[in-house]
Amino acid sequence: MGRDATNLAYLATIVTFVVALRFLSNPATARRGNQIGAVGMLVAIAVTFANANVVSYWEIVVGMVVGGALGAVAALRVKMTAMPQMVALFNGVGGGAAALISLAEFHTLAPAVGHLRRDISISLVLSALIGSISFSGSMVAFAKLQELVRGRPITYPGQKLGNLLLFGACIAAGVVIVAGYEHQWLLAALGLGAGLFGILFVLPIGGADMPVVISLLNAFTGLAAAATGFELENNVLIVAGMLVGASGTLLTVMMGRAMNRSIANVLFGAFGQIAATGAAAAATNGGTVRAATADDVAVMLAYAQRVIVVPGYGLAVAQAQHDLRQLADLLEGKGVHVSYAIHPVAGRMPGHMNVLLAEANVPYPQLKEMDEINPEFSQTDVALVIGANDVVNLEARNNPSSPIYGMPILNVDQSAAVVVLKRSMNPGFAGIDNPLFLNPKTVMLFGDAKDSIAKLTAAAKTL
């Protein structure tokens, strides 16, 4: 296949990717869009096989079967509650692939010093740098979300300075390579250094900030792929990479805005360390926590006209989405109007709660965005908060000294009553105490969310 024909086929792939993203603007067409994108990917792979220069087919086929099988098994087995770590993992392997490509390409192109065009060496350095950060950063994000390492920020003295120096050293190595010192060991060292930086950079970021981090790493992998496109002079890599880069960037900005914090604050703030002092101070504020029984709460819910469910990460941890759906069905059978308030940063990745509730067959028109649902709380009888904390934390509205002050929250306190399902009085993932729990309107139902919801359902059935 000639170069022009190959590039035309790649253009077809580009079109399918754009269509795939375009179709994602509507839940009704989104699935077809994804399938069209997959077909485009197959076309690109087939065309690359037909490339006259590709000679070692069998090794590639074996590699594809191995990698594809791993990917397919993981994708088919993963639970919807574990989706954030799955996304982090696939993101990481893509970044890793881009970094490896640049190392192999450098090895081929630069057997001796002084052979590289400047634009190629810049692209090689960029994809090694960004790809490595994306790979190791995503792996740490995966480990945190999978709870292989602590979700809370991990900090130590000199952390920021050390990270800055390491990053500076990576950049310096890149500049030296581009300036003409084209030695493989240096690019390999740059890749390793960037990989280490990726680990150290994600470690201090708390679990509640994961939506921002995952979005940012997603953008990084896209940029690394685009840089690979410049190395190989390949348009489909450039366009596809930049589409992903744009998507990740946009999501990062939106998540930052939803928390009313700058991206720099999220990335370098080591959010959540204030836990101990903040909790101690708020606990002595004078309010009392009112614990309720499942029977009390079931009565409140069954005799309400409107109930708004506010899900958070705790719902995912308890894997209680199906039980919640059963409870909602039962309430709706009793004539209660049930809807769901989804905060943009609820959960551990953008849109996390929507996926969970969709899995439990909740029709998506019942899932309301924050701006849409906030005016409705004042006409609501019961706000049922399940495993959410920061997104309903009144400190964000009232306490200028709170680290989350200014973050838009769901106005659950405007409803006639608030029920909070919570494991214990421990502060949430961000480690900040919540005055909502001390509010006279609020009752707490302690326990595992799944158990609590099952008890509520059982109690409501008898009413």
């Binding site: 997959a38 690359t48 791993l70 999501l251």
Partner: protein, 105 residues
């Protein structure tokens, strides 16, 4: 086409792709942000093309082929996993109740 011309051409494509990306992505509702992330994840699996080119071209030594093949394995996992998991997710988004309920309702 000279190298510089090609580079300028590629940069043009890059910039247009950025604008196109922002334009298309900004129309995706927050409801579908998780599928958007995993879908774009699948799309950056396009690095598989790069991995194939690096691993498959002739006149290479063992090191290049091995590194290239590892890249092929990683990128394949990325592509297949990304599209499959996105499909699984999008299948669940329904406007009305499904006719058959799971978990026995």
């Amino acid at each position: 086409m000279s190298h510089t011309t090609l580079l300028v051409f590629e940069l043009t494509i890059l910039v247009l792709a950025i604008f196109l990306g922002f334009e298309v992505i900004s129309k995706v509702p927050t409801l579908l942000h998780t599928p958007l992330m995993s879908g774009t994840n699948a799309i950056h699996g396009i690095v598989i093309v790069g991995a194939m080119l690096v691993a498959g071209l002739g006149h290479k030594d063992t090191l290049t082929i091995v590194v290239g093949l590892v890249a092929v394995v990683l990128a394949s996992a990325n592509v297949v996993g990304g599209f499959v998991v996105t499909d699984r997710m999008l299948e669940m988004f329904r406007k009305r109740e499904a006719t058959v309920k799971d978990d026995g309702g």
